[in-house]
């Protein structure tokens, strides 16, 4: 299993964290998703629309979980506080919903929210980019690959 990239969006729809595990040279196989801010916006627009459509069709309790293209699979998890986690992996991977939930519980809440000096709102990603979170996430993701 390969994880290509990972995004966190806050309740103000702002992208507060991006990370990419793209191998440096990937001749044609990996999707050309970069982690520039434009892409983050596009990713958010996509998951936001899909989530709204899913709810419209399937009722308010229905959740948008993932979609798959020929090149990649995009996983989505949203907390009740409207924090959105997005992970892009290869097409063969199983559901990452649980993984995203674990990232929320064990990394986000522990290292970002509970850091008393980090701001509550993460304007421009402030406070998210701390060492423990970064390290924990990287280890967690590499452990799965």
């Amino acid at each position: 299993m390969v994880v290509y990239s990972f995004y966190i969006f806050d309740r103000h729809t702002e992208c507060v964290y991006v990370k990419s595990w793209m191998p440096a040279q990937s001749p044609g196989t990996a999707p050309v998703l970069s982690t520039s801010s434009d892409d983050a916006k596009l990713v958010f627009g996509t998951v936001f629309s899909l989530r709204n459509m899913v709810r419209k069709l399937g009722g308010d309790d229905d959740a948008f979980i993932s979609y798959r293209t020929g090149q990649y699979k995009l996983h989505f998890y949203e907390t009740p506080a409207n924090l959105r986690f997005v992970m892009v992996t290869d097409t063969g991977s199983a559901s990452m919903r649980n993984v995203l939930h674990q990232i929320y519980i064990n990394l986000w809440v522990e290292y970002v929210v509970k850091n008393p000096l980090a701001p509550v709102e993460h304007k421009g990603g402030a406070g998210v980019n701390n060492e423990l979170f970064e390290l924990g996430l990287d280890q967690f993701i590499r452990g799965m690959m």
């Binding site: 309740r11 103000h12 729809t13 309790d61 907390t79 009740p80 506080a81 809440v109 929210v113 509550v120």
Partner: protein, 189 residues
């Protein structure tokens, strides 16, 4: 049904314990310091406590969601009230205030505190005003307001009685003002 489910979550959630007296004394110190800083301007102390609580609530909700493993939203405000009492207060303060006095439109309820760990050992100052003006546990109102705002509920919360003031019960009134809509991404220009 929903009530028993909430009780179970509240009971089963494992949480690190902390000495209750440490909490009581720490909180008491905060209130005492605020009274000193604002020269016994009790309405201002209430406001400050509420504000501190609000900032706590904004963060605490994430811990609540993580600990209680709540994956989805409450279906209605009644369920929310149950979860606040039986899960929220249970895991953070190990108390379960009663949820009563619903208004007919189901938008407003009371939390009646049979016990309040913040107020152990407390006697309000005998200056003739604190008894009327100071809401000692006002931080809790702010916590609820902050926490619920993060899950898209704008509420108003205030105490209407307190055993410290000689009332029979300690009662907080919580009123739902509105559900907050999802924020939309900014339009591209």
């Amino acid at each position: 049904m929903a009530a028993s489910k909430a009780s179970r979550i509240g009971e089963e959630t494992r949480i690190d314990k902390v000495n209750a007296e440490l909490v009581t004394l720490t909180y008491g110190t905060i209130v005492a310091q605020l009274c000193k800083d604002f020269e016994d301007d009790y309405p201002e102390v209430n406001r400050q406590l509420d504000k501190m609580g609000y900032n706590i609530g904004l963060r605490l909700i994430e811990d609540y969601l993580a600990k209680s493993n709540t994956m989805k939203r409450c279906a209605n405000f009644r369920e929310t009230a149950d979860m606040i009492s039986r899960v929220g207060f249970k895991i953070f303060l190990n108390i379960t205030p009663q949820v009563t006095n619903w208004t007919t439109d189901n938008n407003s309820f009371s939390l009646v505190f049979d016990e309040n760990p913040f107020a152990d050992f407390v006697e309000l100052p005998d200056d003739g005003r604190a008894q009327n003006e100071l809401w000692y546990s006002n931080i809790l109102c702010g916590v609820l307001r902050g926490a619920l705002e993060m899950v898209q509920m704008q509420v108003e919360a205030h105490f209407i009685s307190d055993v410290l003031k000689g009332n029979d019960t300690t009662e907080m009134r919580v009123t739902l003002i509105r559900y907050i809509d999802d924020e939309l991404p900014p339009e591209d220009d």
